[in-house]
Assembly symmetry: C2
Homo-oligomer: 338 residues x 2
């Protein structure tokens, strides 16, 4: 990990020799902490991003995109924060079940739940898809959305990431936080389009990413409106889930956003369809694909991994000239706490 002084030296170097400009607007200074915009990015990807943003926001440019159509979508797991050793929501689900074991003795009689409760995260590999779905369904239903939201928010603020030892809320990619802010400073609307649960991400996405709940699209299950003692509540129920992954991502973009994005950030084959969809925009679009290559500062994986398989999207990225980010080389800093 680089020392703080070395990091500042790098910023100064970047400011002197690259085209990455200092943004002096009060909004961006407030949010990006007086640092250069895209300060944590290496020069080459920074130039590609900046030159695209300039081209599409300049009214005199043939590539100009009206503000109303500046829709940027981002995957979450592996794109805005790590998805290793397993996606955070799975850890949350296990912690949630463990904390409620005493009240639910029947769980110890269920082979899947018993395994997870007694053996923890290490036993996830033993479960098939039906088993994983059961863990998620049981931990994500039978409570009100308000109770669930509070539980998710508490967990994200207190549970520590197993590798980095920091609360999950802090374990987010600093370059991507800068990119989200840079796009918003240029009048883009930023959306999350993730396989993760919408109800799990929304309670903290506004504080952590600056993305309000109604711009967080994710997987979801059924819910029921009820009056309890005259008070309206939304109950989370385990019905037929909508899994926001792969070919379902463009469908979710259509269902929730209703416009074809012009920017897409992702990191796995599960993001490939929404990248294609973005590439199909009538405007000049930009697709950015993170390749996890830094086993020291984060993780290195692509084909062989439980979460975030990356293979065919990398091939299509080459064919279509999507911007592939080699995280080891292209991210000067991965986390703000480095």
């Amino acid at each position: 990990m680089k020392s703080i002084s070395f990091f500042f030296a790098l910023i100064i170097l970047a400011l002197c020799f690259s085209s990455c400009r200092q943004n002096t607007s009060s909004a961006s200074l407030k949010d990006a902490g007086q640092a250069a915009v895209l300060a944590s990015w290496a020069e080459t990807p920074c130039q590609v991003i900046e030159s695209w943003v300039k081209a599409v926001t300049d009214t005199a440019s043939p590539d100009f995109i009206p503000e109303a159509d500046r829709i940027a979508v981002f995957d979450n797991d592996g794109t805005l924060w790590p998805e290793q050793p397993v996606p955070a929501q799975m850890l949350f689900a296990i912690d949630y079940l463990k904390a409620r074991t005493a009240e639910n003795p029947a769980w110890q009689k269920d082979p899947v739940l018993k395994t997870i409760l007694n053996e923890g995260i290490g036993s996830l590999g033993k479960l098939d898809e039906a088993g994983l779905v059961k863990v998620m369904a049981v931990s994500h239903s039978g409570i009100t959305e308000q109770q669930f939201s509070e539980a998710a928010n508490r967990w994200i603020s207190t549970a520590l990431h197993p590798k980095f030892g920091k609360p999950f809320k802090q374990v987010v990619y600093q370059p991507m936080i800068e990119l989200l802010q840079y796009l918003r400073d240029n009048d883009f609307k930023t959306f999350i389009v993730s396989g993760g649960g919408a109800d799990f991400m929304r309670p903290w996405a506004e504080e952590v990413y600056g993305i309000p709940p109604y711009q967080v699209v994710g997987s979801y299950n059924e819910a029921v409106y009820e009056l309890r003692d005259g008070k309206p509540v939304i109950m989370k129920v385990a019905g037929k889930p909508f899994l926001d992954d792969a070919a379902a991502k463009p469908v979710a973009i259509h269902r929730f956003i209703g416009k074809v994005p012009v920017f897409c950030g992702g990191n796995s084959d599960g993001d490939q369809a929404m990248m294609q969809y973005t590439s199909g925009s009538k405007y000049r679009s930009l697709c950015l694909l993170l390749h996890h290559t830094d086993s020291i500062r984060e993780y290195a994986y692509d084909v062989k991994t439980l979460s975030g398989h990356l293979e065919s999207a990398l091939k299509e990225a080459e064919e279509k000239n999507w911007l592939v980010i080699d995280m080891q080389k292209d991210f000067k800093k991965i986390f703000s706490f480095e």
Copy 2:
């Protein structure tokens, strides 16, 4: 109908004697055409709305609501535009089917479609719910969302309302357009939450209501992502629809918006659940219920009607002190073309 000069006299009177202020910000002037904010509202409802907005936007007020939580939801049919003689989308569906009869000879062999195609809007009363669902399903599937969006946009701009003789795009309630703008000027996010199809409303809601597609929540059906000749498309398919009405409205608000609204506008028992949900906000909320009472300038209906039954919501409005709008008395002007 009032003459234009009488209308201006009323505005001047309102400006002199009521608390309804002239908003001089450039954004509102641009959008409200230099008229007074809420100019088409009678004094009493105007005061109720303004006093609530002042209370919840004043940082020194005990009722202050942070900007991020200023979520306002509006029903569409009967709340932002008429739903008589039948909801516009039904007329669109019939026109859409008629225009494609020649290419689809099988439709003439189907009893439901044959009736609609040959007898038109007058035969709608003969159909049961399954029949209506069939008309909507056939007219809203088997095409790409892009094609559907273009068809809806074309129709809304050219088809004439049977009573008012104007394109549907113009047949929107002027007071509600002013209210939408007034709320946005006070940093509310305005959303539509309608039983109408999201795909039908989104193509024109931005131009007509100033509401972007990702803030339009409505009924929807299934869709499939496909590559056709290498080009990505979203195909509309007739699967299991999500009908955004009654108790499904709070569920849709949770699914699409993820926050409890603080303002809700509606006009029928189908909006009652989302009004209850809004009333359950931790903040001081405002619910506004339109009562269609003007058979001359618009329509008069409540209990006896095919669309927009209003009975139990009116009762709950009385109990809970929701703002009931008597359209004949409380709307000085109903349409901009009056």
